[in-house]
Subunit: 198 residues, 2 copies
């Protein structure tokens, strides 16, 4: 199994974290998220969206979109609920993550910490405000429950942990989200945890 | 079953189209996508993201995020492949749709056709360019195949049809995407099809 990957990418980290917990070995092939000039050449035939992560199976089949990859890998494991409705709530969180959280938190982090030519400060601040709205929604959704779905750890937690735990790199203060703070520690304490820079 | 809905919303239309094909009756409760002032009051307890569609089951449980809703409803039906990998490819298209297609095609359509205060033309044009990149990816992904996954109609087609078929309302010319044109007709010819304005 081969993973087209970027070490700093939260989307790729979701896949790496789940593969570590599942004890599945794989080869990592690093692509830059700053210099994207070779994306078409390397990923053109593998992922029409030209993005990492892309998983290539031994038989040559490919799978892209981080949340589709972790959904596939988690099926039949303890990381995806067996209850049909709970699985739907996991998907609800995964789609929320890619629509509200990643385009705000991850993009601001990229602009602040990695981009060679970030946009004007006003644009970054507007995006950061949207990120805070997403964090508030997560904080509300968690409430006083230990995990996001069904009171047990799942790929919903993996998917949201990926960028939320590095949100401070984008200038997000998480102190105003008490449920999130406790949950971040709880996720990092789960068996088989690996860090994003592992 | 109750659907918090907006008639013009492609995201809501995905749910309405699948429910029609499944022959499931439900009550529609309309919310405006222009005047969003009552969102917190009406949806606050139902969907932390304060968006439609939201499906409320008879037992009071709720499900949000259009692609999570159609994934749930399609399970065990002909609209979701039984093969594990094909289901993952469906999810790949669903996540692509919400990350690359909806934030471009649907948002430009909203700005052009519905918004009271659209942003400057330069911003609309930039977003339209991104929409064309997404359409090009869909055109490549379709190739000469009849449907997006497994050569049979699935919720992947429903999810992408929702906004692509009304993209011209946002000023997108689809003539440069021959695979898409044939596919749009093929989707609309499927049994149980209903239109967005039904």
């Amino acid at each position: 199994m081969l993973l087209y990957d970027s070490a700093v990418s939260g989307n790729c980290y979701k896949v790496r974290l789940l593969l570590a917990k599942l004890g599945i070995s794989y080869e990592r092939r690093e692509l830059s998220v700053v210099d994207r000039s070779n994306r078409s050449e390397i990923l053109g035939a593998l992922n029409p969206a030209l993005r990492v992560p892309v998983l290539v199976f031994d038989d040559g089949r490919t799978l892209a979109e981080s949340n589709a990859i972790i959904s596939y890998l988690a099926e039949g494991t303890e990381y995806l609920p067996s209850d049909r409705f709970e699985r739907a709530k996991v998907l609800q969180w995964l789609f929320f993550e890619q629509y509200d959280l990643e385009p705000t938190i991850a993009v601001v982090r990229f602009w602040v910490a990695f981009a060679e030519n970030p946009p004007p400060l006003a644009e970054i601040e507007a995006r950061r405000e949207a990120g805070h709205r997403a964090l508030a929604a997560v904080n509300r959704g968690l409430g006083d429950r230990p995990f996001l779905v069904g009171d047990r750890f799942s790929i919903a937690d993996i998917a949201l942990y990926a960028y939320i735990h590095v949100a401070p790199e984008g200038g997000f203060e998480l102190g105003g989200y008490p449920s999130i703070g406790a949950w971040l520690e709880r996720v990092a304490a789960q068996p088989g945890h690996v860090k994003i820079d592992a």
